[in-house]
């Protein structure tokens, strides 16, 4: 019985079958790509190792950066620094962006006052703030937090704003009619009502944070994954470049997963409500 429950899986359309087709094809593809990689670089040498590293070179680069260290520190230090900056910039952006979005969504006057400022700042891509941040704050942490804050701030404001505007009118009217105090109105009506959109905004913010951080570190930094990439590029060290890229991908994926888990927890009531509706 136990084994059966592992192998027999019902897919979304209710078809039963051994190990779902999609997953096995996916795994096969990844396996084939790995074999191709090995064949192209190591076995036949079609791709020269100066252009793209072989699996062995990638592994030795990984050992290199985690043991002796590379670009000013070992892998743990670089990962810790990048992760710390993203988390700090991201939290700072949420702490400022969500309240501003709530205010703009709630009060038409605040919206009319703030929106034009947004309209002129928004078209400037976050990455374009990097040189200014370096001029103002140098190559240290502060400049990175500033640009991450900037790139994550805009999506959180816009989505929170949209979320508040999407709350069902009767809910708001009921709250007004019952004379709900302002503070409770914000914490019990506005924030929960807007939270599905807020989380959409946070996901966009998180992605933007990673892109911006990597760019900022590539332009100039003392530690961090971007720094590893930058030094590896100057040293013409393809193995290390690949290790850096994989690290960026894993960190991006991991933080997105954590946010997804937080979202599932925070929005449990909403999923339940949606399920109850049908």
């Amino acid at each position: 019985m136990k084994y059966e429950s592992v192998y027999i899986i019902t897919d979304s359309l209710g078809r039963r079958g051994r190990v779902p087709r999609r997953m096995s094809i996916g795994l096969a593809t990844i396996l084939i790509v790995c074999v191709l990689w090995l064949a192209m670089t190591t076995l036949f040498g079609i791709v020269p190792s100066g252009r793209f590293p072989s699996p062995a070179e990638t592994w030795s680069a990984l050992v290199h950066v985690s043991g002796r260290g590379y670009g000013g520190g070992d892998l743990t230090l670089h990962v810790y620094n990048s992760l710390r900056l993203v988390v700090m910039g991201f939290l700072f952006a949420i702490a400022t962006g969500v309240p501003l979005g709530l205010l703009m969504g709630w009060s038409r006057k605040a919206e009319a006052f703030i929106n034009p400022i947004f309209l002129i700042i928004r078209p400037i891509p976050p990455l374009a703030w990097i040189p200014l941040a370096i001029l103002w704050l140098g190559l240290g942490d502060a400049a990175k937090i500033m640009v991450i804050w900037f790139s994550a701030f805009v999506p959180s404001v816009i989505n929170t704003f949209a979320g508040v505007r999407n709350i069902d009118r009767p809910v708001l009217e009921a709250a007004y009619m019952l004379g709900m105090p302002k503070f409770r109105f914000v914490t019990e009506v506005l924030v929960p009502g807007a939270s599905p959109m807020i989380f959409t905004g946070l996901r966009l913010s998180l992605q933007a944070s990673w892109t911006t951080l990597v760019a900022a570190e590539l332009v100039g930094a003392f530690y961090g994954i971007g720094r590893v990439l930058n030094v590896a590029q100057q040293d013409l060290y393809p193995g290390m470049i690949l290790v850096g890229m994989i690290a960026v991908a894993i960190l991006g994926w991991g933080t997105t997963r954590v946010l997804g888990m937080a979202e599932a927890r925070a929005l449990r009531w909403n999923t339940a409500a949606l399920a109850a509706k049908g």
Binding site: I25, T29, A112, L127, A128, P131, Q233, L236, V248, G252
Partner: protein
């Protein structure tokens, strides 16, 4: 929601907001609290912008840098559209292709486009090839995703009708899938133009010898904050123009399809 306000009030408040913002900025830089080198006033930035229009800085005038940037952008963006849209459509049509490509695509999606910079420089150099690859990396995913969605959510009745009449696959793709996914594809193009433009700026900050991003890095190296800010204004204006043009195109297509809400 809070009380509605009249149009006049909203315009007035808008101007007040802008005036406060610019006034605060001008005041800060005039008061001497912040050194003028680090925070030039809005008027100085405007002046610098006008000067750069016909004075060379870092090898070219501002329009010259913009032209270099835009050329790269156009190549990268068109390449992304030319490969991404057919791939997305085919993935929407052939389930096997979808199942093969999706895991690779999902794995690569988490690599920030900017993280491709070292390989781009290694493979295609820092002239025009490298930056094009970065733009491609930024603009490609939305093209694929939207074409895929467009093809997946085509009204099944249309496909069933085509199948019943014995239309060959190739013609179903060209004459049913492609036309009915056009609105979704156009929205994807708008997103990908935005991301591509942003990736280009990033690429030019790191590896390039011309372009607006390069001009800004040179401005930063020479501690010319007003040049950096003028570059930001130029990037913002071009980005805005691109977005406006594609938005207008999107609306035009939707109107022709009678999809406008």
């Amino acid at each position: 929601m809070n009380r509605q306000i009249s149009l006049l009030q909203s315009i007035g408040l808008g101007f007040l907001g802008l005036a406060c913002f610019l006034g605060f900025w001008q005041g800060m830089s005039m008061s001497g609290l912040v050194s003028n080198i680090f925070l030039p006033s809005p008027l100085e930035v405007y002046d610098r912008f006008m000067t750069l229009l016909d004075r060379r800085f870092a090898g070219a005038t501002l329009p010259g840098h913009l032209a270099a940037s835009f050329q790269r952008f156009a190549y990268g963006f068109l390449l992304a559209a030319a490969i991404g849209i057919p791939l997305g459509l085919l993935m929407g049509w052939y389930q096997l292709l979808d199942e093969i490509v999706s895991p690779l695509f999902d794995a690569l999606r988490f690599v920030a486009p900017i993280a491709w910079v070292p390989f781009a420089a290694l493979w295609f150099g820092t002239g025009i090839g490298g930056p094009i690859m970065i733009i491609f990396a930024g603009a490609f995913p939305p093209c694929v995703i939207n074409a895929y969605r467009g093809a997946k959510f085509v009204d099944p009745r249309l496909i069933e009708a085509a199948n019943m009449l014995g239309t060959p696959s190739r013609r179903v793709i060209m004459e049913v899938l492609l036309p009915s996914s056009v609105p979704s594809i156009i929205s994807g193009l708008r997103v990908s133009a935005g991301l591509g433009w942003q990736s280009l700026v990033g690429a030019e900050l790191i590896v390039a010898s011309a372009g607006v991003g390069y001009m800004m890095v040179q401005g930063q190296a020479n501690i010319q904050t007003h040049t950096v800010m003028a570059g930001m204004v130029a990037i913002g204006l071009v980005g805005l123009a691109l977005d406006t043009a594609l938005r207008a195109f999107e609306r035009f297509i939707q109107k022709r399809r009678g999809l406008e809400q």
